[in-house]
């Protein structure tokens, strides 16, 4: 059975942002990566909604969310979310951040100690690896990024979007990601020094074969966040929520429940 999601717009910090909401139970905030809002139909979103009231906002500048003029960096975006959480009454929520959204979740957590009660980072960007490099996803075609995101790329991943409207949103998401993450590319040099401030339960989930953000980044997050645990998903790339959906939902629910 499909869990129904509603779409609403919340005005915070000078911008109306799109929020998908569905499911029942304690609130869970999902912070998306550079690809934009995953939508409600993904198996992992549905799986999470069976156990939580899931909020999936589109970050300012992504999908159909407006971008306030002042918002240019990931740190700006973190400020935005501290306000968003206050405005929506979601302070103290559980959170999952994927890829760039994981970086964002970490930034919010170090910025505001009562923003979240539990933190889950999934193949998060934001930290400079000491072994290997963050793959520059803007320098290679989107189809190649899609291919690199998987341990075993599924068939038909590399197509353009089906309609001009969806392609426009994909292009808009990519442009907003460039705005936020251009320099330094996909990391914040301050973050390793600030992560020890995080005192909430933290689970870090990583695909063993992540070719976008190497596992080394997960190890660095784990070493820097006191009491955190790193769970490695085998035969999996940058997106465990897509490539190992069931295993991922179980890892999330076990930790967050």
């Amino acid at each position: 059975m499909t869990v129904a999601f509603s779409e609403e717009f919340v005005e915070v910090g000078g911008a109306k942002v799109q929020v998908l909401k569905g499911g029942s139970g304690d609130p869970l905030l999902v912070l998306h990566g550079t690809g934009g809002n995953p939508g409600a139909d993904r198996a992992y979103v549905q799986g999470l909604a069976e156990r939580f009231t899931v909020y999936v906002p589109s970050h300012p500048g992504f999908n159909t969310s407006e971008r306030p003029e002042w918002l240019e960096t990931i740190a700006d975006l973190a400020f935005f979310y501290t306000w968003f959480l206050e405005h929506t009454g979601l302070e103290g929520t559980r959170v999952i951040g994927f890829s760039m959204g994981g970086w964002l979740a970490a930034e919010i957590a170090v910025m505001c100690r009562h923003a979240f009660s539990k933190l889950m980072l999934v193949d998060a960007e934001g930290i400079q690896p000491t072994d290997g490099e963050l793959t520059d996803i803007f320098l290679i075609p989107p189809a190649k990024v899609a291919e690199l995101s998987f341990y075993k790329p599924p068939e038909g991943m590399a197509r353009r979007e089906e309609t001009p409207e969806l392609q426009y949103i994909a292009d808009r998401n990519r442009e907003m990601s460039v705005r936020l993450c251009w320099k330094p590319y996909m990391f914040d040099p301050r973050l390793p020094s600030l992560l020890p401030r995080i005192k909430i339960p933290t689970r870090i989930v990583w695909g063993r074969h992540d070719k976008i953000a190497p596992l080394n980044c997960g190890e660095l997050y784990q070493a820097a966040i006191p009491g955190s645990e790193l769970v490695v998903v085998e035969e999996c790339g940058h997106s465990p929520q897509l490539e190992k959906s069931e295993e991922f939902v179980k890892l999330a629910v076990d930790f967050l429940a």
Partner: protein, 376 residues
């Protein structure tokens, strides 16, 4: 009509097929193929050719700048302008130009351009460019900010030249406590500003707003016509009518004593039309470099086919390349001049693997026969 001589100062002394091992012959093409001793000889040669171009009668010398590419050894127009300022004495020095968005220091740019204007005795034409998308990578400047940095950098430079210092600048991308460049341009209120383009309507609107001459680079003639037409429309809406001096067109050009020689040796230009203009879309147009247009919006005019896919004959038919005896070239360039209503012709008269000897003879014939004929 003013005729300018231009070369990108290519470095073609390697097996160009090596480039096929990499995504492009730009940006990430390894600089292990570079030999400074070869470059030393090339710089000497190219600067000699610029001197000779002035001597044979070109009105101006055009220079440009690119990064991470063998197609252009010139990596700093202000350095080249400084050299030309001292080794030439009459010709205008057309810099097309300084890349404003990738500059982190507009007051320094204002000083540098003012300094070469003073040294050259007021011969500088200060072109301002956005830089191709690849420059956003090479200089690591956020492509999303390209146009706003272009405009703010321009505004700051113009103010530095025209408003007595010191003054403060607190913009979005640039912040200065004290803008007060000691060296100011000889030309008052400042050197002429030009801007080039290949199709972006935003650039044309901007150029027209400031009444800056607009140069179309290697576009098909019909595209150049459309771009100039758009400029005239913007100008008309602002209540003025641009003359030929507002329009420049760039074309590759080679003149020889016989048609056979011209057609044979003209093939050396193909190097320039192929790999240097090819490469992944991400290199040339990083996200944000070109503004997003919502579905249903009319697309701006675009080039028909990239020059890298055109045959030698097509390159000539499409006026990317004009080669021939003086008579042939005069006929063709007159056609370009009349059809486009331009006041300046920018002749890229050395490119690719064209040798020093062939370049010199071509320049000589241009000076003796082609340029005088185009003045009529």
């Amino acid at each position: 009509m003013d005729v300018y001589y231009f070369t990108e100062m290519p470095y073609a002394d390697f097996d160009e097929n090596e480039a096929d091992k990499y995504p492009a012959m730009r940006l990430t093409f390894p600089n292990t193929y570079f030999d400074p001793k070869v470059a030393r000889d090339l710089f000497k040669r190219y600067l000699d050719e610029y001197q000779y171009a002035e001597e044979v009668g070109f009105d101006g010398l055009m220079i440009n700048e690119h990064h991470n590419t063998p197609s252009c050894l010139d990596v700093e127009v202000n350095i080249t302008a400084g050299i030309l300022a001292r080794i030439t004495s009459k010709a205008k020095i057309l810099m097309l130009g300084n890349m404003l968005p990738t500059s982190d220091n507009p007051p320094r740019l204002a000083e540098e351009i003012a300094m070469v204007d003073v040294i050259s005795g007021g011969r500088i034409i200060s072109g301002f460019v956005r830089g191709i998308g690849i420059e956003s990578w090479a200089n690591n400047t956020n492509p999303v900010h390209n146009r706003e940095r272009f405009e703010e950098c321009h505004d700051l430079i113009i103010k530095a030249w025209t408003t007595p210092g010191p003054f403060r600048w607190e913009g979005k991308h640039y912040h200065y406590r004290v803008v007060n460049p000691w060296v100011l341009p000889l030309q008052q209120p400042h050197p002429p500003i030009w801007t080039p383009g290949t199709g972006s309507p935003e650039t044309i609107a901007w150029a027209s707003k400031y009444r800056y001459p607009y140069a179309a680079f290697l576009t098909p003639l019909d595209v150049a016509e459309n771009l100039f037409g758009l400029y005239r429309e913007y100008a008309a809406a602002d209540g003025w009518e641009p003359g030929p001096e507002q329009f420049a067109f760039m074309v590759n050009c080679f003149v020889a004593d016989t048609e056979e020689k011209a057609q044979e040796t003209g093939k050396e230009f193909i190097w320039r039309m192929r790999r240097p203009v090819a490469g992944p879309r991400e290199y040339w147009s990083p996200p944000g470099y070109v503004p997003l247009r919502p579905p249903g919006d009319a697309s701006p005019p675009r080039r028909t086919r990239p020059s890298s896919e055109q045959t030698f004959e097509e390159l000539q038919e499409n006026y990317h390349l004009v080669v021939g005896t003086p008579d042939t070239v005069i006929k063709k360039l007159r056609y370009v001049k009349e059809r486009l209503g331009i006041g300046s012709l920018l002749l890229e008269a050395q490119a690719g693997r064209l040798s020093h000897e062939d370049t010199m003879r071509s320049l000589e014939l241009m000076g003796k026969e082609v340029i005088p004929a185009l003045r009529d």
